[in-house]
Amino acid sequence: MELLSGNEAIAQGAWEAGARIGAAYPGTPSTETMEAFGAKEGVYAEWAVNEKVAVEVAVGASAAGVRVLSTMKHVGVNVAADPLFTAAYSGVGGGMVVLAADDPGMYSSQNEQDSHWYAKAAAIPMLDPADSAEALAFTREAYEVSERFDVPVFIRSTVRVSHTRTPVECGQRTERDLAPFESNPAKWVMMPAYAKPRRKVQLERIDKLSEWVETCPYNRVEMRDASVGIVCAGAVYQHVREALPEASVFKLGVTWPLPKQALRDFADAVESLYVIEEASTYLHDGVAACGICVADTPVPLPRDGELSPGLVAAAFGLEAPAHAEAPADVPGRPPALCAGCPHRLVFKELARMKAIVTGDIGCYTLGALPPLLAMDTTIDMGASVSMSHGFELALAGTDHRPVFAVIGDSTFGHSGLSSLVSTVYNRGGGNVCILDNRTTAMTGRQGNPFNGETLQGRPSRELDLEGILHALGIEDVRAVDPNDAKAVRAALKAAAANEELSVIVFRSPCVLIDRIRKAPYEVTAACTACGVCSTLGCPAISKDPELGVAFIDEGSCIGCGQCAQYCAFGCIVSTDKGGFDD
């Protein structure tokens, strides 16, 4: 027995099934899946620039006859939706499995959309494991389902499946022979003449899947007390079993298509049938559409966020066990940009110039929080660049604050680049800051085209960011050290003053890459308690609650010297003990 996370188990299942190629874009809670897959023998795995590209790589490899894995977070499925919907017409060559990892409760996401809707909308079968052992078995089996029905298959997980480690018995790999590719435009060229008959094939497949799902081994009816019957799937199944151990349960392993007759039979066998699911009405609507009367829980379940055994129990009127009240005076502990983070001064200066800042997805989204408060919008990957163009269009001819887009290097590669091409093409003005910290930091420092690191450490090349910007015809391109406050300020000012499109590349590595520490800084006794340094939001700097003077924690300070540039009185100085190594 090994303790594997759901993500590691999915990778193991794909490997055991003989999958040979994987393509993904990192995103919590999916990221470790492709990392674990890429660490296995006999596979090729890569970070694609975005999820659409990853799925297209996977469809190509599948068409060529290889079993493939593609993984992404729920919002990544939005990006990949275009190829997925039509791959569900063409089908597969080698089996193709796609992980959609959802984040109900939004631990690390901009929304909590439910990927089940995609399975239904695209007619792609979806399996919902409830722990790591199922994640392994379902993924391995998903390749059989994929090839048998000639369709890609979704594995759907949530944070509590992907990031929970449970005991797993790992098996052996079955090597697969390459199914040789033969030209077949009627299957692979989805132009109207071929797509129309292929749509009929898809409809026939839906009928076959609907028949298969009634008796497939992945759904399970557990009859106990017949007064309460519950339909559920995934991690929620575990909460239901914990909260209501006597209830009868229809555990769905396949969540699309739904086994309509089996569900009706279950409904007939229980007095009241309930559907319990997280942050969605997908299962409820699907079960109700079977003509089943779905009972309301005595107390309504939360409509958003994660469920837990306690929340399920409360919905059935059970009281929480005795417990202490949450103390009211405990301060929040939100995440923050690290001490020495190269993004900090860009946000400080954008706030100082009262810019309108369109933001993007990554660690730097934390620039929106106090005390920096330097971000006005964040919607989705790449949107900073296109939204700033929208702001510029709407505000044209008015006296407005400068508009700045702020985007990270990996996010720029993901989809900011195409936004920028569109702005240039449409002769848009405005200002774009590319925060090139040499890595995809938020998800755990993965490679991307601009740091030239690949998932399995194969030699690659760093894309020349400034070269690309020049090639687009952007004349005002400058590279700036974001740790130099004066240089940051000057570059932002110059960009704002320029009517034409300006792009500033702020380049400095993420402090988590090599963790270099210099001698820490300290505050001298001359501190005037002006409080400016604490507006930087550095976790190493604190303000004395009574005297207001600054204090630098030498254990947290990495000696970046950003704060010293903001002390008008010269009271922040390096301890410079020389040669600090940690």
């Binding site: 480690r165 991690a235 909460h239 949450a326 660690c363 106090p370 700097i541």
Partner: protein
Amino acid sequence: MTNATITVLLCGVGGQGTVLAADLLAHAALEAGYDVKVSEIHGMSQRGGAVTTIVRFGKDGVRSMVADVGAADAVVSFETTEALRNLPYLKEGGYLLVADETIKPLPVLTGRASMPDKAVSRLKEADAHVMPAGAIAAEVGSPKSVNVALLGALATRLDFPQQAWEQTIAARVPAKTIEKNIEAFRAGQAFASRCEE
């Protein structure tokens, strides 16, 4: 304590080592013959934010991987403010183990919020075992083994064989640090045993 599912909530601040402690606890439980689930949160919450990891184990199969209020048999906190925050999760009569470390969150550092009043004495009122885990780890010459020292104290409340713990530590910490970590573990056990006397 052997038949029901046992829930341990480990909490602290991102970067304090709660994940490794949970990993050791889970593997020791597996070694001792239990079914186990370990639930972690990755991503944005790791940038210096509050973190919790939940370890649940039992002989009869563990169901849910999360803990509700009043459900944790033990709360092991690496930090005093986080101990207060997670107090509602502790079962009545449960074991509350807290390292005597305090890390101010950013809203406090920047003067927008203040620290809770008399955190340690309030924790003690809630029957917390406040442990000088940093000092204990430093004493055995392994200041980074705070998490292992805390586990040692927790171990006195669980019925895993000593061998299960020490084998797990030996198998899962860097080879050079095995001896020191086992020493820190035993020092944690000794501390907790002294508290019981």
